[in-house]
């Protein structure tokens, strides 16, 4: 029988002002297996943690239940406390009575108290069945691969190489540089791009640690953190190599407008990228009209591409700077010049005579062709009237969209992408340059449209993250993986087909066909567990008996309530 300790947190007023914590503690004391129940003003404080640790030792607790806030933020903290007190960190169960109880039932104190009791009963039921887990270890091949040779990828690769890590750069085009090959100057500081790319390229070309594969794409990818097998098609030949970590830097691309604003019909209607080309050639127009948010932030493509406003500001200023008399108008829906430098750019543009006009999604500008240029009719929301303007060119600021072949890359790497085709990081704040799949990292516009500075920062961050397992030589494998009870397994194959990660295979153990989980490849989602008809597949920390016990606890509680 497990000795369970229950610690209920007041969280100051956050829980304590709604849930009757003392009452809940009394209730917890009489639950099966509970050896001790106590409360803390702030369990996560030094003092709170100290008292939990003391109680673990004094009461010889096997399992710890903390009823407080959300495991999504505080679980690591309490797990560490358990470990410090000599309890395996997987013998810890978190019950959320703040976000899921006191905060959302603030006016129903009694009901909230009752619910907290039930939640704790469920938590204790699960905790009583927890088993210690050992995190596995796998060795890491000290080689990295960077997919994409744009600014983000090159930065990451150069950083890895500078740390002495052998690195493969896989670029689909015939030369490195990515989108920057078509952009000569970048904002907000008007830096020339050519030296930037050249320096990175030279760094890599000089290093014996770097292998650059041009006109290449990945055709096969297998394995898991520390030990990926990659096969690439490099021109006509194929090459195989093994790496320990992978950085995805496949970038994005500019959306080619589809039949809007006369694009393709009126020759003076051009894209931002075309303008970049013209400006790089030294030809600044006498007048220009920029239209922002073309084919984005609208039904079908809701997101904001983030960088277009700044690009427009940069190019508007480039036009003005080369031709101070130029008439530049920016038709926008909101100007997103976030950050202090970009804000300065916006101010400078305004002050230099660039006129900004706001249009609504429901009344987009109308373009008509005209001799030496185009005319635009737009409903100005500020003046509340239609205004006609004309310009030598009309520049359509279209969004960065996801790279071609993202779906294939996602499939190969077994990483998720969102509905817009951009890759999805493990956690937007806590793990921004990692994927949920261990050993695979993300940077640059493949994740979200990003400025060059952001690409560089993310490239460096991804390289730093990727270097951790490689430099360490070993990785800890998450213990919430699936495991097979060989004796039970009926080899029906459901799990093999259900696994999103192809982490399960059929094998033969002692003459018996059964499923086998590759723990390093398993992400612990539990899809296979639900597909297994006879409970042979279990997810550590979420076994069917544990969750079954939670359900039982709730059933018991509601039956008792019905009796009363």
């Amino acid at each position: 029988m497990q000795r369970v300790g229950v610690f209920v947190c007041h969280c100051g007023h956050n829980i304590g002002s709604v849930v009757d914590v003392e009452k809940v503690v009394e209730y917890a004391k009489q639950l099966e297996n509970v050896a001790v129940a106590d409360h803390n003003l702030y369990s996560c404080s030094e003092e709170g943690l100290g008292s939990i640790k003391k109680s673990i030792r004094e009461n010889k607790l096997d399992v710890v239940v903390v009823a407080a806030c959300t495991p999504r933020t505080h679980e690591p903290l309490f797990r560490r406390a358990c470990e410090q007190a000599g309890v395996n960190k997987y013998l810890f169960e978190f019950v959320n009575i703040r976000e899921h109880c006191s905060w959302i039932h603030a006016k129903e104190k009694e009901a909230a108290t009752e619910k907290a009791k039930r939640l704790i009963a469920m938590g204790v039921a699960k905790a009583s069945l927890l088993t210690p887990q050992k995190e596995g270890e796998a060795s890491v091949i000290p080689v990295a691969a960077v997919i994409g040779g744009g600014i983000a990828g090159l930065t990451a690769a150069a950083s890895l190489v500078s740390q002495g890590i052998e690195t493969h750069v896989i670029e689909k085009e015939a030369r490195l540089g990515g989108l920057l090959n078509n952009i000569s100057v970048i904002g907000p500081e008007f830096v020339e791009t050519e030296p930037l790319i050249r320096r990175l390229k030279e760094d890599l070309e000089r290093s014996p640690q770097a292998h650059i594969h041009l006109e290449s794409r990945i055709v096969e990818l297998g394995g898991f953190i520390g030990n990926f097998d990659i096969k690439i098609a490099e021109g006509a030949k194929t090459t195989d190599f093994k790496v320990g970590a992978i950085i995805v830097a496949t970038g994005g691309r500019e959306l080619e407008p589809t039949n809007v604003y006369g694009f393709g019909k009126i020759p003076t209607v051009i894209t931002q990228m075309e303008l970049e080309k013209r400006l790089a050639g030294g030809a600044a127009p006498s007048s220009a009209i920029f239209i922002q948010c073309v084919e984005c932030r609208q039904p079908g493509r809701e997101y904001c591409s983030r960088i277009c406003c700044n690009v427009t500001l940069k190019n508007a200023l480039r036009i003005i700077r080369s031709n101070p008399n130029a008439r530049v108008t920016v038709l926008h829906r909101d100007i997103m010049s976030y950050g202090t430098t970009a804000e300065r750019l916006y101010r400078e543009a305004s002050e230099s005579g660039v006129s900004f006009m706001r249009y609504g999604l429901e009344s987009p500008p109308k373009i008509s062709e005209k001799e030496d240029g185009a005319s635009v009719e737009v409903f100005d929301e500020t003046l509340n009237e239609n205004i006609g303007i004309s310009g030598e060119i009309v520049v359509l600021a279209t969004p960065i969209i996801s790279q071609e072949g993202t779906a294939e890359t996602a499939k190969l790497l077994k990483v998720p992408a969102d509905k817009n085709g951009f890759f999805l990081e493990a956690h937007v704040k806590l793990r921004p340059v990692e994927f949920a799949t261990d050993g695979v990292f993300i940077c640059g516009s493949a994740r979200w449209p990003s400025h060059v500075t952001e690409c560089i920062a993310q490239g460096l961050a991804a390289a730093a993250k990727a270097a951790i397992p490689i430099r360490g030589g070993k990785v800890v494998i998450e213990a919430i993986t699936a495991e097979v009870d060989v004796e039970r397994c009926a080899a029906c194959g459901n799990c093999v087909l259900a696994c999103p990660y192809e982490a399960i295979e059929m094998t033969v153990i002692d003459g018996k066909r059964c499923a086998k989980v590759n723990e390093a490849q398993c992400k612990g989602c539990g899809t296979c567990v639900a597909a297994c008809p006879n409970d042979a597949m279990q997810q550590k920390g979420f076994t069917t008996r544990q969750l079954g016990a939670m359900i039982d606890a709730l059933i018991k509680n509601c039956k008792e309530e019905a009796v009363e």
Binding site: A106, I551, C558
Partner: protein, 139 residues
């Protein structure tokens, strides 16, 4: 029974719907206190057996909440959920258990308000349906 307090179980995936529920909490969005969340890593790990276990023993309703299709932390995990639960609902209907007692929905980490809406509406729905008849049935 005028004073019907539904007992409802909710399975929330760690990455989206549980975070969505947390956000609802952080945002102090008020909702009825009948829903008890079990955190799972992915909605795809919710065995239909759990749902069957719960409803056959008198739990009045079960919510299964996951990431939106396409946003699953585990690639296509929730695709399986999206297929299992409707089948389960049909089977329950065949046996005479109202499938409206089971609800599958998607709540992202950013959708605290949606979480509140889903919970509130589901509790109302269960109130309309009344207590689970199997609560009283003895075999």
């Amino acid at each position: 029974m005028t004073d019907f307090k539904p007992s409802i179980l909710a399975f929330c995936c760690n990455w989206c719907s549980y975070a969505g529920a947390d956000l609802a909490g952080v945002s102090r969005l008020q909702m009825p206190p009948n829903v008890h969340v079990i955190r799972v890593m992915c909605s795809a790990s919710v065995k239909p057996e759990y749902v069957i276990k719960a409803v056959t023993q008198g739990i009045d309703g079960v919510l299964v909440l996951g990431c939106h299709i396409g946003d699953c932390h585990y690639l296509t995990g929730n695709h399986r959920t999206a297929k299992r639960i409707p089948l389960l609902q049909k089977i329950l209907d065949e046996a005479g258990i109202d499938s409206r007692r089971i609800k599958l929905d998607w709540v992202s980490a950013a959708e605290g308000e949606k979480y509140q809406k889903v919970v509130t509406e589901f509790v109302e729905e269960i109130r309309r349906l009344g207590p689970n008849p199997l609560r009283e049935v003895r075999f």
